[in-house]
Structure formats: C-alpha cells, structure tokens
Amino acid sequence: MSINGDWYLILAAALFAIGAVGLLVRRNVLVMFMCIELMLNAANLTFVTFSRMLGDIGGQAVVFFVLVVAAAEVVIGLGIVVTIFRRRVSTTADDLHVLKG
C-alpha cells in the first residue's frame, strides 16, 4: 500500500510552519535550535517526496548534502551556545543583543 505523496508534502509544510513559528516565539536558544532542525528536515522530507514522485534520484542526493551541512552547523552552533552559556547566567536569545546597531 502506498500513501499519496500529497500527504507527505502537507506533513512537511506543517513541520516547517511549526519550526518557523517556534523560532519566532521561543526565547530559549536550545529550543530555537531544535526549531531550525525541524525546518531543515521538513525541507528534506519535501526533497525526498518529490524525488519519489518524479522518479529523480537527484532530490535524495541533495538530502545527503543538507544532512552533512546541518551536522556541521549543529556542531558550530552548539559550540557557540555552550561558550555563551558558560559566560552568562541567562539562557534567552534576547539577552544576546550586543551586536545591535
């Protein structure tokens, strides 16, 4: 039994929206990170879905690249977050606005 591809796309859109809204409304840096991951994987799901629907392996190949880049990004991002938390007590993103103009 195979499920219609549309459902995958709807799921991906829902995941993306959850991630985007979460990024905008949450203050905790770790949660924001998780939201970003959610959005990335929503995009990956879209790629895979289209790859299957169109019978083109290119979409799945792109997913691997996205996964690698996401992994690297997480390493750097978490490193920065940990460094910041060592120096500061609070954990909200709004406290980190030293780069404001």
């Binding site: 985007a20 990024l23 924001m32 709004d94 980190l96 606005h97 030293v98 780069l99 404001k100 103009g101």
Partner: protein, 631 residues
C-alpha cells in the same frame, strides 16, 4: 692628449662623491684640501686637453667624446657626450683655474664652520655641473648642467640657513632662475620641432629649417633663460640677495662662473642668433640697460658685497650687449677678464670681512690699508682693472666690447661709455671707503660694539689673491686690438667665423675709442676721489631711489607679490575652506545622518531577523504565486 677631456668633469665628481660619503669623518681642514685637489686635477686635465687642441691645425680644433646614448627615443637621440672646441676649452680653462684658487681660499675662509665638509661637497658638485654645462654637445645636457649649477647656487646661498633672510634669498634666486628656465625649455622644444635634433652640430647644419619668425622666438626664449641665469633685466634682482652666501661662493658662482653661463649659452648658439637681427637688437638693448641701471645702483649701496653684486650685474650687461652686437669674442674675452678681476675683488672683500669679523658695511670700514696690507695691495689691481685703467685687463676687454658696440650703434656706445664712467666711480668709492679715510671700525655703532684691530688673512687666502691680481693685470694682453697680437681672436675664430669684429674698424678709430675709454675711466676715478677721499658721510650722492634699487623689488612686490598673496588667501579661505572642505564634510555628514536612521533596523534580537527573513520569503512566494495565477 685631447682624449683627457673626460677627466675634467670626472675629477670634481669623484671629489664630490668622496666628500659626500667621508667628508664628515675627514673634517676640517683635510676635506677642503681634498676638494681643492679634485679641482686642481680638473685644471691639469684642462691644460693637457688645451695643449692637445693647440697642437691641431686651426680648422680641425674640435672633437666630440661620446660616452653613451642617454635618451634613445625614436627621432630623439640624446647622447651623453662632450664637445670640445676653442670656446668650451676657454670656458673650462678659466672655470677650473678660478675654481681651484677659490677652493684654496675657502680652506682658510670657512675654517671653523659647523658644516665645513658640506661646503666643499656643494662646491665640487658645482664645478662638475658647470663643466657639464660648458662641455655638453647638445642643448639637453647643457640644460642638465644649467639646472645643476642652479641647485648648487641655491644650496650655497642658503648655506647659513639658520637665518631666515639667507633661506629666503636662496629661494628668491631659485624662483627667478625657474622663470628663465621655462624660456630655455620652450626654446629647446621649438628648435627640436624645426631642426629635429638637439645636438649643436646638427642644429647649426640645419639652421636653414628654422625660419625668421621661429628663429626670433627661439632666440628670445633662450635669452629669457640667459636673463634668469645671468641676472639681466627683468630678472636681475636675485643676484644682490645671493650675497647672503659665504663670500667664496659669491666670488665663484655669483661673479666668475655661473652667472656668465647665460652669456656662454648665447655664444654657443651664435649661428641661431645671427638668424634674427631683431632679437639681437633686443639683446643689445636689454644688455646696455642692465649695465647702466646696475651701475647707477652700485654707486649708492652701503654693503661692500652689494656694490660688487650690482657691479657684476652691470659687467654681465656689457657681455650681453657685446653678444647683441655679434661681438661674441669680445663677450667671452670680457667674461674671462671679469672672472679674474671680479673674483679678485670678491675674495679681497671676503678677506676684509674675514679680518673684521663679518663687517660688510662700507660706513663701518675705512683705513684698512695699514692693517690688511696684502688685501690692500692686491685689491688695487682689481680696482684698476675693473675701472678700465690701461694697461690692466679691464681696459682691453671693455674697450673691445665698446669698439664693437660703436660699430653697431653709436647711441648704445654712448650709454656704454657713461656706464664705464660710473664703473670707475663706484669702484673708487668702494676702494676709498674701505681702505682710506678714518678707521670707523674703532667707533662703536648703536647696534654693535667697536671692532678689535682687524687681522690679515692666512696665507691660503693670500695666495689666490696674489695669483688673481697677476691675472687681472696681464689677462688683457691675450687679445690686443692690433693685427698679429689678437691671439684670443684668432683662437676663437673657427667658432665665431663670420661675426662682427673690431678689426673691421679702421685702426685710427680703434685708437680714438681706446683713448676715450681711458680718459673716461680716469675721469670717473678722479670724481670719486674728490668726493670720497676723506669723508664717508655724503648722503647727497646716495639718493634713496638708488639705494632702494630703483624701487624694482617694491614694484615686483606690488605687481606680482600682493595680487599673488591675495589669490592665495582667497584660495585658502573660499576655495579650500568653503568649496573643497564643504564637499568633503557634506559627504561625511550625509553618511552620518543616513546611518543614524538606518542603524535602528539592527536590533540585535534574533527573532526580529528571523521575522524579516520569514516576511521576505512570504513576499517572494506571494510574488511567484501571483505570477503563476495571472499568467
């Protein structure tokens, strides 16, 4: 033997290099001896070359020594080469000879100076440049030497630059010379555009290509250059101020050699001068005017060196007058004799200044004949020579010039004769005020105390005085106005063939003119003797108009100085302050105002940036959807 010519400029160049690198370590007095030895080497080289040249038959007494091609650009081929002919040879002989004596004199005169070796560095470089100037085989290399002597002159006038007035005297000399240099450069361009070369030999071979109008323009532009370098009207004002330099510099550069470079240049290009009779008239008139004006000023100056400076301007005016009359040999003859007697007079004045601890005011000298016997004894010869008393050199050389001028125009001759009268007058005034009368240096002046008894100069300073006194006395005999005894005339004949000579005059005329010259000289001498023998204070003979140099500097100040200053002030306040600064500051404040507004967007909150990205994305999607919708 003529191939020793390259040694002439080489010796001073080596001396310059050695003194430049090691001078400070060598110090006083050996740096001076090295400098003198370098010039002595050049003098020996000049004598050897001369002997070689005399050995040749008269028609082949010229050769070119090429070292390398300096500027090989298409049609412009400039070679670094020396051109030796009787004219450049004559120049080299007296330049190296007089320079050697003045270097020797400087060893004593500059003793104890702070920058002793630096003085000889400049002096050696000057002699090198001067030799490049006279030996060059093309206009451009001549110009290199021309600028070289100019910059050495600037350095040496401002030698004691701690005083503001000395520094500005140097600047004045340099700027006046720049005006002349523009003329020289333009003349060079003009000649190159017509003749297609800068080599003298090529230019003279193709002089037919230079038309009448162009020739007049080229000659007048060259003459402008000569006016700057040789201190002629309207550019003569720098020379009196140049007396701010040490006295040996005044003797060497501002009397004997450099200031005559303009006369040399005009003689060098004499074939082009002959193309334009109009320009020759201009040259003659400017020359005689300068001679006359400078003579009148010299009669009223207080400063011993200023009198000699205006006298130099006046004498060079005679040389220029001779050039304008086509009497190039007479001009060079006067130049050589002038180098001897004016060098002697300046060195004598230097000896007086040295002995009285820097007293230059004629009204504070007097009665020095007893305390400075050697200076006095040698000065007599210089005084009689420049006054034109027979049989000293000035009589023969000035007489030669005046004879030629008489052949061209009796009016110019009459002005020249009046100038000769004035020359005898002001030199006698100087002589009596310095060596006779009361010993005014014994009385204290309002601004300075009485002097101790002046002291005679050391022997290194006396020897040049004696040698120059001998030369100033006998140099006239190289060119007597009698057939068969005019050696100098015969020697220079291959260079100036075809120009006007006084042997065209009837010998009776020459005799009459000579007697007139001598009578006028004696008359001038007598008048000054009557006036200045006893009293030094005769204001009625020193009108303010003459003391202020015909208000010439004041006129330049009013015509060029003040409008220039006003323009500079306008530029500084309005153009610089409002327009240029306004534009720069306007751009700055525009950026500041914009960025003050724009910085509000940078809040530092991640969620704001995320929202901006989301909104932007939404806009892009909306745009694309709308395109799909309505297509």
């Amino acid at each position: 033997m003529v191939h020793a010519a390259f040694l002439m400029p080489l010796f001073p160049l080596v001396g310059f290099a050695v003194l430049l690198t090691l001078g400070r370590r060598i110090g006083d007095p050996w740096a001076g001896w090295i400098g003198t030895a370098a010039i002595a080497g050049a003098f020996v080289a000049a004598c050897v070359t001369f002997a070689g040249l005399v050995g040749e038959p008269a028609s082949t007494r010229e050769f070119t020594q090429t070292f390398f091609t300096w500027i090989p650009v298409g049609g412009l081929q400039v070679k670094a080469a020396l051109y030796i002919d009787p004219l450049s040879m004559t120049m080299c002989l007296f330049i190296t000879g007089v320079s050697m004596l003045i270097h020797l004199y400087s060893i004593g005169y500059m003793k104890g100076d702070r920058d002793y070796s630096k003085f000889f560095v400049y002096l050696n470089l000057f002699v090198f440049s001067m030799l490049v100037l006279v030996l060059a085989n093309n206009l451009l290399v001549t110009f290199v030497g021309w600028e070289g002597v100019g910059v050495c002159s600037y350095w040496l006038i401002s030698y004691w630059f701690q005083s503001e007035s000395n520094a500005s005297a140097g600047k004045k000399a340099f700027i006046y010379n720049r005006i002349g240099d523009v003329g020289f450069l333009l003349a060079m361009f003009l000649i190159f555009s017509k003749a297609g070369s800068l080599d003298y030999s090529v230019i003279f071979a193709h002089k037919d290509l230079i038309g009448g109008g162009v020739a007049t323009a080229a000659v007048l532009l060259l003459f402008l250059g000569a006016c700057g370098k040789s201190a002629q009207i309207p550019l003569f004002n720098w020379l009196p101020d140049a007396m701010a330099g040490p006295t040996p510099v005044s003797a060497l550069i501002h009397a004997a050699t450099m200031v005559t470079a303009g006369v040399y240049l005009l003689c060098r290009v004499s074939p082009i001068l002959q193309l334009s009779p109009d320009a020759d008239w201009v040259i003659a008139i400017v020359g005689v005017s300068t001679a006359f004006v400078a003579m009148t000023i010299a009669t009223s100056q207080q400063d011993i060196k200023k009198v000699l400076a205006f006298s130099t301007v006046s004498q060079i005016g005679y040389m220029i007058l001779a050039v304008g009359c086509g009497a190039y040999t007479a001009a060079i003859f006067l130049m050589v004799c002038h180098a001897f007697y004016k060098g002697l007079l300046f060195l004598g004045a230097g000896s007086v200044i040295h002995g009285t601890e820097d007293e230059q005011d004629l009204k504070r000298l007097g009665a020095l004949r007893k305390v400075l016997p050697w200076t006095f004894g040698t000065f007599i010869f210089g005084w009689l020579a420049i006054s034109g008393i027979p049989p000293f050199s000035g009589f023969w050389s000035k007489g030669d010039v005046l004879d030629n001028v008489f052949a061209k125009s009796p009016v110019l001759w009459a002005i020249g004769l009046v100038t000769a009268l004035g020359t005898a007058y002001y030199m006698t005034r100087l002589f009596y005020l310095t060596f006779y009368g009361k010993a005014r240096w014994r009385e204290p002046a309002p601004d300075r105390p009485a002097h101790h008894t002046p002291h005679e100069s050391p022997w290194v300073m006396r020897i040049p005085l004696i040698v120059l006194a001998v030369l100033a006395s006998v140099a006239g005999f190289i060119d007597l106005p009698v057939g068969g005894l005019d050696f100098f005339n015969t020697w220079l004949d291959p260079v100036f063939a075809g120009s006007l000579y006084n042997d065209h005059e009837h010998s009776l005329t020459v005799w009459a003119l000579s007697v007139t010259d001598a009578a006028v000289a004696v008359l001038g001498l007598f008048i000054a003797w009557r006036i200045w023998r006893v009293r030094a204070d005769r204001p009625e003979f020193e009108p303010r108009f003459l003391q202020r140099v015909w208000y010439w500097d004041d006129a330049y100040d009013a015509i060029f100085g003040r409008p220039g200053e006003a323009l500079a002030r306008f530029s500084a306040t309005v153009i610089e302050g409002r327009i240029i600064d306004g534009a720069v500051n306007g751009v700055g404040s525009l950026v500041r105002v914009t960025s003050t507004k724009a910085r509000r967007f940078q809040t530092g909150y991640v969620r704001n940036y995320a929202l901006a990205i989301a909104l932007g994305l939404a806009l892009i999607i909306a745009f694309m959807v709308s395109r799909v919708w309505w297509s």
